[in-house]
């Protein structure tokens, strides 16, 4: 891996208005989030509904414009540059809604080729067949329509379309959460294989920690628009440091009765609050078992720490492992 990130986001914020564009109350869907992904690396962005992970994904591919902050591709601001935009492609969550039902697989997968003028005529067809083969579909499928495919096959079509533009970064927004477990594993393995073959970087947006563990090198955890913890996948998922990550980890059930039964009676209180009225101070404070007065006053900033395992960070006044302990 080279030392320079392929895609970097610095201080991204996005506000929306809830309940009307003019009189609605403004709220931060994403607030001051930074991330960097290296070539060939998978960074997972994890969190529950309303944490801003999908808005973040949409900003990274240019479907939403950030209110603050900038997105850099190999160190250069992306903005409206089409050639740079092409380098970052998206795979959507719902393979039933994200494919136009009235177009053939050929036209769906070829759309990025047409938009960016990458291939025409026989070369266009040949390229689509090559892409379909790469994602494990029969190239003969190109004349068929989306409804003729199962959920897993449709997600493969969505991945083939994203790859058509020859991107360096794939942003996948919950790409397997609508699929059955056995099919989910097929798609996860496909993404891992494609990454090995093509060297692409992946930003994997998900809520399922076990799926994230299977695919990611690094993990960033979001809560109510803020990044609360980041670091290597092992560190964040197996020995979480932010109390919210600990809560997520404790609620994730695994197919192991002895382990899953440990979760009985240990649910974290409360629900993620409405992002329109976030609590003062740390946004997790009303649900946090480690809360003190400090947490209710000022919002904790992300404190990064670098060691042999790479960079890790936590935005918490009382992380599970104290900073002193970390640097010792």
């Amino acid at each position: 891996m080279s030392a320079e990130p392929i895609l970097e986001a610095r201080g991204l914020s996005k506000t929306f208005r809830a309940g009307g564009a003019v009189f609605g109350k403004q709220f931060h869907a994403v607030k001051d989030v930074s991330l960097a992904v290296m070539p060939g690396e998978t960074l997972a962005v994890v969190g529950e509904s309303g944490c801003g992970k999908s808005t973040l994904a949409r900003m990274l591919v240019g479907l939403e414009t950030p209110d603050e902050g900038e997105i850099l591709f190999r160190g250069a601001p992306i903005k409206r540059d089409r050639a740079l935009r092409r380098q970052v492609q998206m795979v959507f969550q719902d393979p039933y809604l994200s494919l136009n039902p009235r177009r053939t697989v050929l036209d769906i997968v070829a759309e990025p080729l047409d938009v960016h003028g990458l291939a025409k005529g026989a070369a266009r067809t040949a390229r689509v067949e090559e892409l379909l083969t790469a994602v494990g579909l029969d190239p003969a499928a190109s004349s068929r329509f989306p409804h003729e495919f199962s959920g897993g096959q449709r997600q493969r079509i969505g991945i083939a379309r994203a790859l058509a533009a020859e991107p360096s970064v794939l942003v996948c927004d919950e790409p397997v959460s609508a699929l059955d477990v056995s099919v989910q594993a097929q798609v996860v393995n496909l993404l891992i294989d494609l990454q090995k073959r093509l060297g692409i970087a992946i930003i994997f947006i998900a809520h399922d920690l076990a799926v994230v563990r299977a695919i990611s090198h690094r993990v960033m955890v979001m809560y109510l628009g803020r990044a609360v913890e980041e670091g290597g996948a092992d560190q964040v998922l197996v020995t979480p440091n932010h109390p919210y990550t600990v809560a997520l980890r404790g609620s994730a059930l695994e197919p192991d009765p002895a382990r899953a039964r440990l979760a009985r009676g240990k649910a974290t209180r409360g629900e993620p609050p409405n992002p329109v009225n976030p609590p003062p101070g740390c946004r997790f404070n009303p649900r946090c078992p480690r809360v003190t007065d400090e947490c209710r006053k000022d919002e904790p900033q992300m404190k990064r720490h670098s060691d042999a395992a790479g960079v890790s960070g936590v935005a918490c006044y009382h992380p599970v492992r104290e900073a002193a302990e970390l640097s010792a």
């Binding site: 529950e48 563990r213 009985r264 629900e271």
Partner: protein, 323 residues
């Protein structure tokens, strides 16, 4: 409590009969949690809807036996079944927003249950509803009783739906993917609530889910379905330790885990078309443990160990014993 044997459900479609459920049998004992597990289209939801008598569309339902707390559901008329629903057996759906009436306040919806089933006054129905919402730990129940479903969060709506299901203290609760639409931290709360209510009311729970983690957390016994048939049944501890049916084993191998990073083992192919299922065992085109009989003879569900049964010619557990 609930005993079903030889249940068949088929739907008539333009392209032919879809056998959604074939020869499904299970017993739910008092106070236990039995999980019915399978992927989409395996027939787990249809089976339980057939028991509740709420299958929609042009379905044909046949069974050798269907008994609920001493009542024969096969001979019961609509009026008798209506009385059993709510008082003896009740259902919690996955999607609380569409299961609740959007134009009635929570108090009106819950109160209606008490007024129609128990014939109590409007005032008493309201008081009982507030009490009920307290029992599912809905915060400030007395103030929120006049709110409408859209004013609640997903987790709170699921609590309200559970409240309406347990209002008449049923003996059997069918929970159909009760936490699938929820965030994990909220799922943990709802599962804790179900545990608590089960202890308090002594009700048996039939849990329908695709999530093996939820099964491991909640159930004592499990029945695995594939393509409309039961392929394996037994205690959760036994089956998770050593699955006998290759489908159960493959399902477990395809589920990712947090503690260990191993390459996931997906099941090749996709579930069969139920209009024309493959001959022999329906899992044979996807099975990695295929033998001579699998494409010719459909395996029956037979018990090979105490409390366990499987429908497989070459079960993995027996092989392990021989080896």
């Amino acid at each position: 409590m609930l005993s079903v044997s030889g249940l068949d459900v088929s739907f008539r479609t333009m392209r032919g009969d879809v056998k959604a459920v074939s020869d499904v049998s299970f017993d739910l004992k008092r106070g236990e949690v039995l999980a019915l597990v399978g992927e989409s289209g395996s027939g787990k939801s249809v089976s339980t809807r057939a028991v509740m008598g709420i299958v929609r569309g042009n379905a044909t339902i046949n069974a050798r036996r269907m008994e609920l707390a001493g009542h024969d559901l096969l001979t019961a008329d609509e009026e008798q079944k209506r009385k059993l629903r709510g008082r003896v057996i009740s259902l919690v759906f996955q999607d609380a927003l569409s299961a609740l009436n959007p134009v009635l306040s929570i108090g009106d919806q819950l109160g209606e249950l008490y007024r129609t089933h128990l014939g109590v006054s409007k005032k008493e129905a309201r008081e009982r509803s507030i009490e009920l919402l307290r029992s599912v730990h809905l915060a400030s129940a007395d103030k929120r009783i006049d709110d409408y479903p859209h004013q609640f969060s997903g987790g709170m709506r699921q609590r309200i739906l559970i409240a309406s299901a347990i209002a008449l203290k049923p003996e059997v609760l069918i929970a159909d993917e009760p936490t699938t639409a929820l965030d994990v931290t909220v799922q943990a709360q709802i599962l804790d609530l179900l545990d608590e209510l089960r202890d308090e009311l002594g009700m048996a729970i039939l849990l329908i889910t695709h999530d093996l983690g939820v099964v491991a957390r909640m159930a004592e016994r499990v029945a695995v379905m594939y393509a409309g048939r039961l392929v394996e049944t037994g205690s959760v501890d036994d089956i998770f330790r050593a699955p006998a049916h290759p489908y159960t084993a493959a399902l477990m191998a395809s589920a990712p885990r947090i503690e260990t990073v191993e390459k996931l083992e997906p099941i090749k192919g996709s579930p069969p078309n139920l209009i024309a299922p493959p001959p022999g065992c329906a899992f044979n085109p996807r099975c990695t443990h295929l033998g001579e009989l699998c494409t010719k003879v459909r395996p029956e569900l037979v018990g090979d160990l105490p409390g366990r049964s499987r429908a497989c010619h070459y079960p993995l557990v027996e092989t392990a014993h021989v080896g």
